[in-house]
């Protein structure tokens, strides 16, 4: 099931220099995730979720955010939000868009509009919501609704970190729109012991990735 990636847990000793700075954090360690594609390049913008296997921690606090439409593309193209979050879908383009999704986690449609005529939508089921525009088929966005207590997205260097993770056993999941199987994130279990001041996990994605979608502006504007 996990053949597509390796989760390499580096011993704290290797990171002695980093660990030296964090020795006072005996009960809450720092965890770094680095996601690397099959070609060795960092995977920027990968969604990271961390769940405690004991199930003691509650989902993260819902947020209010937006997914804009600009230059015939969703901006950002990927949003990760906790369950119960509200998302507005304003249209900043001069042309009208008709935004919809038929993903099980959130079925909706916003009839053809410009500006922000509609109130924010609530995403109260975890899952991956693929968002499209019925007029411009090349517009594609993703709302990743998570019920995990910790979540985030990797930086341009393909990294993400959490400063104070209580000791315990966790499932770390990684998802990216260029993965072959978009329906299920890649997951691996890790444990953080009180002695670990700093842990680093490397996700090496073994499978070839889907090609990156072109800048939507060049293709989504087609009238014919």
């Amino acid at each position: 099931m996990y053949r597509f990636f390796d989760a390499v847990r580096k011993p704290a000793a290797i990171l002695a220099t980093l660990a030296a700075c964090g020795t006072t954090w005996a009960l809450a360690g720092e965890l770094s995730i680095r996601v690397v594609a099959n070609d060795g390049l960092p995977m920027a913008g990968a969604v990271v979720e961390i769940r405690d296997l004991a199930g003691q921690l509650s989902p993260a606090t819902p947020i209010d955010t937006r997914m804009d439409q600009l230059d015939l593309a969703f901006a950002p193209t990927v949003l990760v939000v906790p369950v119960g979050s509200h998302i507005a879908f304003p249209n900043s383009d001069v042309v009208s868009h008709q935004v919809y999704s038929f993903s099980p986690a959130k079925k909706f449609q916003l009839p053809l509009y410009r500006g922000k005529p509609y109130p924010p939508l609530t995403f109260d089921l975890p899952g991956i919501v693929t968002v499209g525009c019925n007029i411009h088929d090349n517009m594609l966005g993703y709302v990743f609704v998570t019920d995990a207590p910790y979540y985030g997205r990797t930086t341009a260097a393909g990294t993400w970190f959490i400063a104070a993770l209580p000791p315990g056993s966790y499932a770390v999941s990684v998802w990216h729109p260029r993965l072959r199987n978009l329906a299920r994130p890649l997951t691996h279990n890790v444990s953080v012991s009180p002695a670990d001041a700093h842990s680093e996990f490397l996700f090496q994605i073994r499978e070839p990735l889907r090609p990156q979608r072109l800048t939507a502006k060049r293709t989504a504007g087609d009238s014919y």
Partner: protein, 410 residues
């Protein structure tokens, strides 16, 4: 001439226009001016057998096109498109429609989506014409193939599309099927048969004419959108997409015309025309675009199909976007061959190719400056009738300035 179409089409348009002000409108006005230098033979528009819109007699400052586009939603699931243009001061109508249709396109509730278009519109063939108003994104002068589509073809009827939205279902592929039934396209074929292919950007307006050379003598104002035999035509097509990188299209068109039917009002037969066409477009992450299209067809006219032609054309286009600049080159090849005639004498035979290179600069949004050089090399034996030698090498250099005013009303 005042047949069912003369009533049905204006009625449809009036219906669209009446409903239009109710909803959010998008109105575009595009002014396209040209500075033209050409050594072309007398243009087909002036009764010659030149392949270009502008010939040696009309170089200088020319109107490329003045376009008025209007579109908007009608309720939750419908939207309409109206597109009208002025091409020249000596057209039948000073301004005329090129497209006018209503589309039903409800938001998808599953991976399958149905769409229905009704009115007058282009069949999905051209991969060059990507901008609103069926505007060529890459060149001022379109390929021989798509020039012909703009001259003689329009779907005036109903088109059904069934799309499989793979991208919404985690697949890199999307697929689509199209089927259309149409009328009012019975004369399609007359221009490619008598004149052969040409390369330009003028689209025949729905109520307008296309001047073309005729073996019977001189130029004739051809009506192309007319129902002569009462038999509907059809086209069916399929398309496949891989992400937004690869697009493959195939179409079969048949106007099912009765080649013996004659309409005295427009002084023309129904031309029984069918063709197959394939198109491929590739786009790379570093902004290269490759387009290849191929079309092969035949047309028959007269009782017992007494005159027959084959026509074939293809092109390869290569373009690169570099910031605000775009470079594009294209190679066209075309042929029209008359294989049968009820009249004695020469069977028409036209062979040619064209090379075009274009540079476009978009300093600010909606303003495009283009410099383009086109050379068409053709050999058409009918030129002997005009006292010309059959072989012609025509050159045109054009500087184009195109600006679009966008007016949006919420």
């Amino acid at each position: 001439m005042l047949s069912t179409d003369a009533i049905a089409r204006p009625l449809l348009l009036c219906g669209l226009l009446a409903a239009a002000p109710l909803a959010a409108q998008q109105v575009d006005v595009t002014l396209d001016g040209r500075l033209v230098s050409s050594d072309s033979r007398t243009s087909f528009l002036d009764g010659g057998l030149g392949k270009l819109r502008a010939d040696a007699n009309n170089t200088g400052l020319e109107l490329g096109r003045l376009r008025f586009g209007m579109s908007g939603p009608l309720g939750e699931s419908f939207h309409y498109v109206l597109d009208a243009s002025v091409w020249s001061t000596d057209d039948t109508n000073p301004i005329d429609l090129t497209e006018a249709y209503l589309e039903w396109r409800p938001a998808p509730s599953s991976v399958w989506r149905s769409r229905v278009k009704a009115g007058a519109f282009y069949p999905a063939i051209s991969l060059e014409h990507r901008a609103a108003g069926w505007t060529n994104k890459y060149f001022l002068n379109s390929s021989a193939l798509n020039t012909w589509i703009g001259e003689e073809l329009r779907t005036i009827g109903v088109e059904y599309n069934l799309d499989w939205l793979g991208a919404q279902r985690n697949s890199p592929f999307d697929f689509g099927l199209t089927a259309a039934a149409f009328g009012w396209n019975d004369p399609a074929g007359v221009v490619v048969a008598f004149r052969g292919f040409a390369l330009h950007d003028r689209q025949t307006p729905l109520f307008g004419r296309l001047r073309t050379w005729t073996p019977g003598g001189g130029r004739q104002q051809r009506v192309l959108f007319d129902e002569i035999d009462g038999r509907p035509g059809y086209h069916i097509g399929a398309q496949a997409k891989y992400s937004d990188r690869v697009l493959l299209r195939a179409i079969h068109y048949n106007n099912r015309a009765d080649s013996a039917a004659f309409d005295a009002a427009i002084d023309d037969y129904a031309w029984e025309t069918n063709f197959n066409s394939l198109g491929l477009r590739l786009q790379s992450a570093n902004d290269w675009t490759v387009i290849a299209q191929w079309l092969s067809g035949e047309t028959f006219v007269g009782p017992g199909r007494h005159d027959a032609w084959y026509f074939d054309t293809q092109f390869l286009l290569l373009a690169r976007q570099r910031g605000k600049q775009r470079f594009a080159v294209r190679y066209d090849w075309f042929a029209t061959t008359q294989v049968r005639s009820a009249y004695p004498g020469l069977l028409g035979r036209d062979r040619g190719n064209a090379q075009i290179v274009s540079w476009t600069y978009e300093p600010i949004p909606r303003l495009e400056l283009t410099a383009e050089y086109l050379q068409v090399d053709s050999n058409y034996n009918r030129r002997l009738r005009l006292g010309e030698i059959p072989r012609a090498r025509e050159n045109t250099l054009q500087i184009g300035v195109r600006y679009t005013f966008e007016m949006n009303h919420r």
